[in-house]
C-alpha cells in the first residue's frame, strides 16, 4: 500500500476529463439528494476513468468507517461486488488524510482478473476535516496512471463538497425543527395561560359581584351571573381534562376501555346532545344501518364532541354534515362543514400537539390540544383520522375505524335491552 503524495504538478487534464469534471460539478450543484448526485458522478466518471466499483465510506458513531454508498459497474458484473470493497485502503486514506493506493496481485492473477486488484482511496476533505473516503476499485488492471489519480482527486473534492452541503442542509433542518418546537411551546404557554385565566376571571368577577353587600341584584341578574359561573367552571374543567388527556397520551398511560359498540346509535346520541348544547349548530346526520365496532364509547364521544365544538368555533353558522358508511371491514365517519376552510399549508400540522392555525382570532378560544387528542384516540382504536379542506368551501374530517365482522358478539353498548 502506498500513499500518493505530491503528484507531478505537470499532469494536465485531457479535454474529455475536463468535460467530465464540469458535468460532475454541475450535477452536484443541481442535485438535492446525495445518492442521486453520486449516481450522476458514477455516470460522468465512467467514460473517462475505468473502475469496477465505487464506494463512499463515512465515519459512523464510534468513528468506524461504514459504506454509505456503493455501486458495482464492473466489467465482470457482480463477481467484483462479492470480493473486495477496499475497506483497508479507506481506513488508510482516512487516517493519513492523503490519497492512498493499493496494488495487489494474488496467486493466479494471470488466469483470474479478480486476483489483480488496484484500489484508490481518496480522503473527502472539507478544510482540515476528513468527512469520509471515496474508493475506486479496479480488477485486472491496468494500474492507475498519475493522470487518472489526479482526475480522481478532482472527483473526490467534488464529492466532499456534496457531502459537506448535505451535512449543512441536515444541520439547518435540525435547527429549524428545534426552533419550530420551541416556538410552539412558547405559544402554547401563552395560549394556555389565557385559556385558564379567562374562566377564572369570570368566576372571580361574577362571584364577587354577587357577594357585594352594598347592592341587591334582581332574580334575573342573579340567575344570569350564576349561570355564567357555572358555565365557566365547566369550561375550566374541560380544559383541565384536555391537558390531562394530552399528558396521559404523551406518556402512554391512557387506556381504552374497548367493547362492542353500535356506532350509529352513539352518533345519533352525540348529535342530539351537541345540537341541544349549541343553539347555532345544525347537524344533518346520514346513517343508514347498524355499524358495530370495537371501541371505547367515552373516547369516541369525546372525539365527536371535539369535532362539533370545532365546527361551532371555526365554521360558525355553517351546517355540519355527518355521515357513517361501512364496507366489509372498515367504517367511515365524515364530519363536513361549509365554513371558511383552512389553508393547505396548515393542514399537515393540524393534528400536532399545541398546533393552532396562525392568525386565528384571539377571541376564538383553543389550546391546540383537541385534534391531537382526537388523533391519538382514533389511532388507539387502530383507526385513522384525516382532514381535507378548501378555502371558502369548508373542511371535512374523515375517521376510519375497523368494523366487527362477527355479529355474534356480546350486546353492544348503545343498544337498548329489549324485553
Amino acid at each position: 500500500m502506498t500513499i500518493v503524495d505530491d503528484l507531478n504538478e505537470s499532469v494536465v487534464l485531457k479535454p474529455e476529463d475536463l468535460k467530465a469534471v464540469y458535468a460532475i460539478s454541475l450535477a452536484i450543484a443541481q442535485s438535492e439528494n446525495i445518492d442521486s448526485a453520486l449516481d450522476l458522478i458514477v455516470i460522468h466518471t465512467r467514460p473517462v476513468f475505468i473502475f469496477d466499483n465505487m464506494v463512499v465510506y463515512l465515519p459512523q458513531e464510534g468513528s468506524s468507517l461504514t459504506p454509505s454508498y456503493a455501486r458495482v459497474i464492473g466489467r465482470g458484473k457482480c463477481a467484483e461486488g462479492e470480493i473486495e470493497w477496499g475497506g483497508v485502503i479507506a481506513t488508510e486514506a482516512f487516517s493519513s488524510k492523503q490519497t492512498s493506493l493499493c496494488h495487489e496481485k494474488l496467486e493466479g492473477w494471470e488466469s483470474n482478473r479478480l486476483f489483480w486488484r488496484d484500489f484508490l482511496g481518496l480522503p473527502l476533505k472539507a478544510g482540515e476535516e476528513v468527512l469520509g473516503v471515496l474508493v475506486f476499485g479496479r480488477f485486472g488492471g491496468p494500474p492507475y496512471t498519475p493522470e487518472q489519480i489526479r482526475l480522481a482527486e478532482f472527483i473526490a473534492a467534488q464529492t466532499a463538497q456534496l457531502i459537506e452541503n448535505h451535512h449543512l442542509v441536515e444541520r439547518v433542518a435540525k435547527l429549524e425543527a428545534e426552533r419550530w418546537l420551541r416556538r410552539m411551546q412558547d405559544e402554547f404557554i401563552t395560549t394556555i395561560s389565557h385559556e385558564l385565566r379567562t374562566p377564572i376571571g369570570f368566576i372571580k368577577g361574577y362571584a364577587t359581584t354577587l357577594l357585594r353587600d352594598d347592592t341587591k341584584w334582581d332574580d334575573e341578574s342573579r340567575r344570569e351571573f350564576l349561570t355564567i359561573i357555572d358555565e365557566e367552571a365547566d369550561r375550566l374543567h374541560e380544559l383541565i381534562e384536555d391537558l390531562l388527556d394530552s399528558s396521559r397520551l404523551k406518556a402512554g398511560t391512557m387506556f381504552m376501555q374497548m367493547q362492542p359498540v353500535r356506532l350509529d346509535l352513539i352518533l345519533r346520541e352525540i348529535v342530539v346532545r351537541s345540537t341541544a348544547r349549541y343553539a347555532s349548530l345544525a347537524v344533518q346526520l346520514k346513517v343508514d344501518h347498524e355499524v358495530l365496532v370495537m371501541a371505547d364509547p367515552v373516547r369516541i364521544t369525546q372525539v365527536m364532541d371535539n369535532l362539533f365544538t370545532n365546527a361551532v368555533k371555526y365554521a360558525p353558522n355553517s351546517p355540519v354534515m355527518v355521515s357513517l358508511v361501512n364496507s366489509t371491514d372498515t367504517c367511515q365517519i365524515t364530519v363536513a362543514d361549509r365554513g371558511p376552510g383552512i389553508l393547505q399549508q396548515h393542514l399537515e400540522h393540524l393534528f400536532e400537539r399545541f398546533y393552532r392555525v396562525p392568525d386565528t382570532s384571539i377571541t376564538v378560544r383553543g389550546t391546540g390540544l383537541g385534534l391531537y387528542i382526537c388523533q391519538q384516540i382514533i389511532q388507539g382504536h387502530q383507526g385513522e383520522i384525516s382532514v381535507s379542506s378548501e378555502l371558502s368551501k369548508g373542511t371535512t374530517f374523515t375517521i376510519q375505524l375497523p368494523c366487527i365482522k362477527n355479529k355474534e358478539m356480546a350486546l353492544p353498548v348503545g343498544e337498548e335491552l329489549e324485553g
Binding site: 395561560s193 389565557h194 385565566r197 379567562t198 377564572i200 376571571g201 369570570f202 368566576i203 372571580k204 368577577g205 361574577y206 364577587t208 359581584t209 357577594l211 357585594r212 347592592t215 341584584w217 341578574s221 351571573f225 355564567i228 365557566e232 382570532s361 384571539i362 377571541t363
Partner: protein, 231 residues
C-alpha cells in the same frame, strides 16, 4: 352629575361584568367591543373614564391608549392580565392613568374607578382665568389646559395632577411618597414605578432637553421640584 364610563373589551362576559357593577353604582355605561369603536366613542361621546382591555384583536389596548392621548386627556384604566407585568408599565407609558389586573373582584374594580375619577376631578378653589407661567410652560388652571410655547399639550388626568402639585409648590421639593399619596391615593404610596413612568412621560411632553429638565427636576432620594426660575 352622572359620570359616563366607556368599557372596551372584546369578551362580552367581561363587558357585562363591568357594566352590571358600574350601573348598579349609578354610572352611565358605554360599551365598545373593539379599538376602532372605542376611539369613535371617546371622540363623540366624551366619556369621563375609559376602562380599556389590552388584549384585543386588530387594535390592541396600547395602540388605542396612545391614539386617545393624541386628542383627549380622559382618564384611562387599562385592564391587563396577571403575569403580564410588563403590560402594566407599558400601559402607563402609553398614557394610561391606572391599571387593574384580571382576575379582579367587583369591589376592586369599583374602588379603582372611584379613585381615578376622584383624581381627575378638577381641583377646587382655582380662580377663573388664572394662568400659571413657568418659562415656556403655561397652565390654564381654569380650563385645566397646558401649553408649551403657546402650543397645547395633551396630558392625562394623572399627569396634569402631578404637574399641578409641583406648580402649586414652586421652589419646594415634594417627596415621591407624597406625590403618590396625593395624586394616586394612599394605597399607591409605595408604587414608585408608576410615578417614574408618569414623570418620564411628563418630561417627554414638557422638557426641551430630557437630560437637563427645567420644569420638573429630580432631587435624588427625596422627590421632585419645580424650581424657581430666575429669568
Amino acid at each position: 352629575m352622572t359620570k359616563k364610563i366607556l368599557i372596551v373589551d372584546d369578551e362580552p362576559r367581561y363587558v357585562r361584568l363591568m357594566e352590571a357593577n358600574l350601573t348598579s353604582d349609578h354610572y352611565e355605561v358605554l360599551t365598545a367591543s373593539n379599538g376602532e369603536q372605542a376611539l369613535e366613542i371617546v371622540a363623540n361621546q366624551r366619556p369621563d373614564l375609559v376602562l380599556l382591555d389590552i388584549m384585543m384583536p386588530i387594535l390592541d389596548g396600547f395602540t388605542v391608549c396612545e391614539r386617545i392621548r393624541k386628542f383627549s386627556s380622559v382618564p384611562i384604566i387599562v385592564v391587563t392580565v396577571k403575569g403580564e407585568e410588563q403590560d402594566r408599565v407599558k400601559g402607563l407609558d402609553m398614557g394610561a392613568d391606572d391599571y387593574i389586573i384580571k382576575p379582579f373582584s367587583a369591589t376592586e374594580l369599583l374602588a379603582r374607578v372611584r379613585a381615578v375619577l376622584r383624581r381627575a376631578a378638577k381641583p377646587a378653589n382655582i380662580p377663573a382665568q388664572s394662568v400659571f407661567h413657568h418659562g415656556a410652560l403655561d397652565i390654564d388652571l381654569a380650563k385645566a389646559e397646558v401649553f408649551l410655547k403657546g402650543k397645547m399639550v395633551y396630558l392625562s388626568a394623572t399627569e396634569y395632577r402631578i404637574l399641578l402639585q409641583l406648580a402649586q409648590n414652586v421652589g419646594t421639593v415634594i417627596p415621591s411618597e407624597q406625590l403618590l399619596r396625593d395624586v394616586w391615593g394612599a394605597e399607591y404610596q409605595k408604587d414608585k414605578e408608576i410615578l417614574w413612568v408618569s414623570i418620564s412621560r411628563l418630561r417627554q411632553k414638557l422638557e426641551e432637553d430630557q437630560n437637563d429638565p427645567r420644569h420638573i427636576v429630580t432631587r435624588s432620594g427625596v422627590g421632585y421640584i419645580m424650581p424657581v426660575l430666575n429669568d
